[in-house]
């Protein structure tokens, strides 16, 4: 229990204190890192206790469950909390090393992490909503982080669209309370079974719209590219690697956990929407020149896979959904962070991310593909296999087109520089290409005006992430058992 509480309270208190500090100073940045690291450490301790099939429950005030708020760490919650906290930590370290540009950044990241930890570990429907709002409101402010006016526009879009989703979620929670008379997830799950189907399915649809918006599924995705492309890389990494997990987790917890019958009823719709997301996201990602935008569209596609796996359901499908969400979060964080950097080893790190995205071993991404094919074959659906194949092929194309475009063609405009600067840089590049003859270079070869390398320490973060993605591909057992344990929570394997 201590670990459970510490995971929550430590970042909470530190984040609150940091609100007063000037986060651009290194020491506050590192304080924030320490807070998130402590949160991660506490979650690891918790995970050791909880996995494979245990759970740890605390009811606030020492009341009975349902009277007080149930805080419940089970395999599913801990998995997502660990993942999100890890991604947040990586992005935070990246930004602190690179130089924080705003006072509130570290505090907001730490509070966002608090919100995420809380919502993944709560066993109460309404408490989920409040923690969710804590994470979201921090994210809204974070999106505006940086001094670009595009970031401001991105923040506005992000906030408005997601708030619509949030309020829909609140309505659904209220409706759920009305029909079940309780807020504790465990009791809700028991009582939902007896609820008249029409009301239940309408509530389920509302939840789906809310989480679909969060996750950025087609056709709720239109906010996503502008936001991911508009913010700074570290924020984009947090949004796609940590915050988007809310969507996946929400669909799993509320869909498969609380509304399994409705999920089953809507499985066709889920698969259709998921497939549409897969193809649409991947296709749009193909010719995007802005890496952040490409990654944003790719996120839409990857979210589609999660939904397809969820729609297929069953132990294999649910485990695949969890696995896919984890892999996507890790590779997206890696790609967003390394895509903004330059210098030796960064290209390698990005390549690992691209491999993972394309589902190519030895990067861990292929496990997701394997699991999905497995699900598809078990389902006996040729159409689905063809869809997965096409989605995968497109992922190949966009991941490597971008990789080559970014890292093999010499200079590139670093994300976050002003437009004027960017224009000047590309003009310079062009001039260099035309005028400077390169000894021995054949005609038509591009000139590589080597851009300034990013600080070594910043690059090290990306490299470490890349090594983790590689290591998970080479030794997948922990990841696989984690995701199947997490899925087991939902299909009753380990309640």
């Amino acid at each position: 229990m201590t670990a459970l509480v510490l995971a929550l309270v430590l970042p909470w208190a530190v984040g609150a204190l940091l609100l007063l500090a000037d986060g651009r100073r290194r020491r506050w940045g590192w304080t924030a890192v320490a807070a998130v690291a402590a949160n991660l450490a506490a979650l690891v301790v918790l995970a050791v206790k909880v996995l494979p099939d245990g759970h740890e429950t605390v009811v606030t005030g020492g009341w009975e469950g349902g009277i007080g708020i149930v805080v419940r760490a089970d395999a599913l919650g801990v998995t997502f909390a660990l993942l999100s906290s890890f991604v947040v930590l990586a992005a935070l370290v990246h930004e602190v090393l690179d130089g924080v540009r705003s006072r509130t950044f570290p505090a907001l990241v730490v509070l966002l992490c608090t919100g995420l930890t809380g919502l993944f570990l709560t066993g109460d429907v309404f408490n989920f909503y409040v923690f969710f709002e804590l994470a979201m409101i921090s994210a809204y402010v974070l999106t505006a982080y940086g001094d670009d006016r595009h970031q401001l526009g991105a923040a506005l879009i992000f906030a408005v669209v997601n708030l619509v989703g949030s309020f829909l979620f609140l309505i659904a929670v209220a409706a759920m309370y009305h029909v079940t008379g309780t807020l504790s997830m465990e009791q809700v799950a028991e009582r939902m079974a007896g609820v008249e189907p029409n009301a239940a399915i309408l509530i389920a649809v509302t939840f789906f719209v809310a989480f679909g918006t969060k996750l950025g599924l087609f056709p709720f995705h239109f906010w996503l590219p502008a936001v991911y492309a508009g913010t700074r890389p570290a924020v984009a990494a947090i949004l796609s690697g940590a915050l988007a997990n809310i969507g996946a987790y929400g669909l799993l917890r509320f869909g498969a956990g609380l509304l399994p019958e409705e999920l089953e009823l809507g499985s066709t719709v889920l698969i259709v929407i998921g497939s549409a997301s897969v193809i649409y996201g991947a296709l749009l990602a193909v010719s995007r020149r802005d890496p952040a935008e490409m990654l944003a569209y790719s996120s839409i596609g990857q979210a589609g896979y999660v939904l397809v796996a969820l729609g297929l359901g069953g132990p294999v499908g649910l485990a695949a959904a969890v696995l896919y969400a984890i892999l996507n979060a890790l590779s997206k964080a890696l790609l967003f962070l390394s895509g903004a950097l330059r210098g030796a080893l960064v290209a390698g790190a990005f390549a690992v991310g691209a491999l993972s995205l394309a589902g190519m071993p030895p990067a861990a991404g292929f496990l997701g593909k394997l699991a999905l094919f497995h699900t598809g074959v078990e389902e006996g659906s040729v159409a689905l296999i063809v869809l997965l194949f096409c989605g995968g092929a497109l992922a190949f194309v966009y991941a490597f087109q971008l990789y080559q475009h970014e890292f093999w063609r010499g200079s590139r405009v670093k994300a976050g520089t002003g437009l004027e600067e960017a224009a000047a840089a590309s003009a310079k590049e062009l001039a260099a290409g035309r005028e400077l003859p390169i000894a021995g270079g054949a005609a038509g070869s591009d000139v590589a005006a080597e851009p300034a390398a990013s600080p070594v320490a910043v690059r090290a973060v990306s490299v470490v992430l890349a090594l983790i993605v590689l290591a998970l591909g080479l030794w997948p057992e922990p990841l696989l058992s984690l995701s199947s344990d997490a899925a087991a929570v939902l299909h009753g394997g380990a309640r």
């Binding site: 309404f126 309505i171 209220a174 502008a226 590309s426």
Partner: protein
């Protein structure tokens, strides 16, 4: 009363949704406020057992649902928070773009995207035919 509350909440929600779709950022925020009010109303309505205020309940009369009241309070406060934040973003937008129009924002974004797309060559480098014939 069920129908009345559903109608009222849905109407407010609908007006809010309409406002969010307008061009004026202040109206967009107003729309969000309406949507949040609608959600709070649903929360209150979800415990719709009219009764005395749940203070010192004696047991004779069933009090109104205190839990939804607590939830509604929380929701109202969160609504306040997001409204303030949205308004601040709008204020910043107005200060930077000198405009309160969504259209202006969209145009700005479109230009930004176009500049990015133009500043970089296309991703796919198509082989010149003659080069492909028999390279090297």
């Amino acid at each position: 009363m069920t129908l009345v509350f559903a109608l009222a909440a849905a109407t407010i929600f609908g007006f809010g949704a309409y406002l969010v779709l307008t061009n004026d950022l202040v109206r967009v925020v107003a729309g969000m406020v309406l949507i949040s009010q609608s959600a709070v109303l649903v929360v209150i309505a979800s415990g719709l057992t009219r009764g005395a205020a749940p203070i010192l309940p004696t047991g004779d009369e069933r009090p109104s649902d205190a839990l939804v009241q607590a939830m509604a309070l929380t929701a109202i406060v969160i609504g306040l928070a997001v409204t303030a934040l949205l308004l601040a973003i709008v204020a910043r937008v107005r200060a930077t773009l000198h405009s309160l129009e969504v259209r202006e924002l969209a145009r700005d974004e479109a230009e930004h995207t176009a500049e990015i797309e133009q500043s970089q060559e296309p991703q796919l480098e198509e082989l010149d035919r003659d080069e492909a014939e028999d390279e090297q």
